[in-house]
């Protein structure tokens, strides 16, 4: 029996979509007095339960707005679910929104330390792996240039290099396999595939069914925040093909 690393039980995530955004006191007060505040509740996720063992690779399918990214963020710990529980074990490398935490005025070198600390690395770890990160990003020449002068591709490369320098237990991928130019894309795919070999648990969001089939062994389909199908990747992708016809 493989070790269970992720377990979600009845997870639900509710957002309040206020009909008009209230962000100043006067408006709030007027509306409060007129008893005119009403929130439109919106469940981005509802009743999500599943568990993954070590080495499982889960593909998450669904149309836009089905709640895929929200689910990833709940698992990564960015959102706290409104109801239900999320249990996870081990080091998570969230390759979602690479470069959150970059400072544009900081140089590349300074950002390696900053973003590394945001991802929870220790100082010694970053110092040890600094050269590896710089080497992998291929940005040695620009490492002392402020980040605001980087191109978006360069930023993404640096983000990817920092985020993948650890050996995670859980890898969260949100269609980031398409980072940078063709050369770097190949390099980054190799890096991710090498992690697969080490038995990492993967959560993968993609619209490309082929990619999901190639990478994952399990899959779920989300629709309006609920799981409508789950199981083996081949079965689920058949259902998905039916649905999207």
């Amino acid at each position: 029996m493989e070790k269970e690393v992720i377990r979600l039980e009845n997870v639900g995530m509710k957002f309040n979509l206020s009909s008009e955004k209230l962000d100043n006191l006067k408006e709030f007060f007027i509306k409060f007095v007129k008893r005119d505040i009403h929130y439109d509740e919106f469940w981005a996720l509802r009743d999500i339960s599943f568990s993954l063992n070590k080495g499982d690779r889960l593909g998450i399918l669904g149309l836009n707005g089905a709640g895929k990214s929200t689910l990833l963020k709940v698992i990564a710990g960015v959102y706290k679910p409104t109801e239900g529980t999320v249990k996870r074990e081990g080091v998570i490398a969230p390759l979602i929104e690479l470069g959150a935490g970059f400072d544009m005025q900081y140089t590349g070198a300074e950002n390696i330390y900053l973003y590394g600390s945001v991802l929870g690395y220790s100082k010694e770890f970053i110092r040890e792996r600094y050269d590896e990160i710089v080497e992998f990003s291929g940005l040695r020449k620009f490492i002392d240039v402020p980040l605001k002068n980087y191109s978006s591709g360069m930023k993404a490369r640096l983000g990817f290099a920092i985020a993948t320098v650890i050996e995670p237990d859980i890898l969260i991928l949100d269609e980031v396999l398409s980072v940078g130019d063709a050369k770097f894309r190949k390099k980054s795919e190799e890096k991710v595939l090498s992690m697969f070999d080490k038995g990492v648990t993967v959560l993968f969001v993609s619209h490309t069914l082929d990619q999901v089939k190639r990478i994952c062994n399990k899959a779920i389909i989300l629709e309006h925040g609920r799981i409508i199908a789950s199981g083996n990747v081949d079965e689920v992708s058949k259902i998905y093909m039916e649905k999207t016809k």
């Binding site: 957002f15 309040n16 962000d23 100043n24 006191l25 006067k26 709030f28 990564a76 710990g77 960015v78 959102y79 706290k80 969230p94 979602i96 929104e97 959150a100 935490g101 400072d103 005025q105 900081y106 300074e110 330390y113 900053l114 600390s117 945001v118 991802l119 929870g120 690395y121 220790s122 100082k123």
Partner: protein
């Protein structure tokens, strides 16, 4: 208890980096850089002395510049720390939405980096004091009391304001106005002995914890013309300490209660 230690261990480096970032970026791209930490209070001191010295009749007091500078340094720390903390969650929205970081680290790092800059700028005060002939006595050992109190006070107020600031953006502007009021009630460029002991105005100074810190601070560096007691006021010290702890408790509870909803409002 073990989990708290783990927590501190885990996020100490991040806090370190955030504090470093604040300090590094504040003066980046200015020619004089960190020198401004020293130059700015010095120049403001000169301006305030030139204006209020003659205006309020303190021209004969050769230690008036020290009096002004000490008050302004503490007030300025409090003002910057709380002002920036009010915006701290909104400014870091991009990061909060994307990666998990304990959110209290943002206001805490803002207060800490302003505190470090404030401590550095105390060098100016030391130099000006020595030049004007105010030499430290054994009372200087008491200086850590107002220094701790002003930190506690700023942190507590920052926690409260950063929470409110998420839900009501108006707080940023309201607090700016409030800070102006606080500045005038802190006796930065005038002395409290202008008012008689029986006047109701005295109560403003007695109840204002920031003034309490400033008064203790002035007493510790050896200025004789502090509050009408003319010596280190232990009542002030205790009052400020309790007040500071209270704001931290209130701010901490408020922050903890609301932090999961931050992400829905930024």
């Amino acid at each position: 208890m073990g989990s708290i230690i783990d927590h501190v261990k885990k996020y100490r480096f991040l806090l370190n980096e955030l504090v470093k970032k604040g300090i590094k970026l504040r003066y980046r791209r200015s020619y004089l850089g960190v020198l401004w930490t020293l130059l700015e209070p010095l120049l403001t001191m000169i301006v305030l002395t030139i204006i209020f010295g003659p205006l309020l009749g303190y021209s004969d007091d050769k230690l008036f510049p020290v009096y002004v500078l000490s008050g302004r340094l503490l007030y300025n720390f409090f003002s910057l720390a709380t002002k920036e903390s009010t915006r701290s969650i909104r400014v870091n929205a991009a990061m909060i939405k994307k990666v998990y970081v304990p959110k209290y680290l943002y206001p805490l790092s803002y207060v800490l980096y302003n505190y470090v800059i404030f401590l550095i700028s105390l060098i100016v005060l030391a130099v000006v004091s020595l030049i004007l002939g105010l030499f430290p006595t054994v009372k200087l050992l008491l200086i850590f009391i107002p220094l701790i109190n002003v930190f506690l006070l700023s942190l507590g107020v920052s926690l409260i304001l950063s929470t409110i600031g998420v839900f009501f953006r108006d707080m940023e502007y309201l607090w700016n106005v409030a800070l102006t009021l606080i500045m005038y009630t802190c006796a930065i460029f005038y002395k409290t002995d202008r008012f008689s002991d029986t006047s109701w105005i005295i109560w403003i100074f007695k109840l204002n914890p920031l003034y309490g810190c400033i008064d203790n601070f002035r007493a510790a560096i050896g200025l004789a013309d502090t509050f009408y007691t003319h010596c280190f006021n232990w009542n002030f010290a205790l009052y400020c300490f309790v007040f500071g702890i209270l704001t931290i408790v209130i701010g901490g509870l408020l922050f903890r209660k609301c932090q999961d909803r931050f992400i829905l409002h930024i």
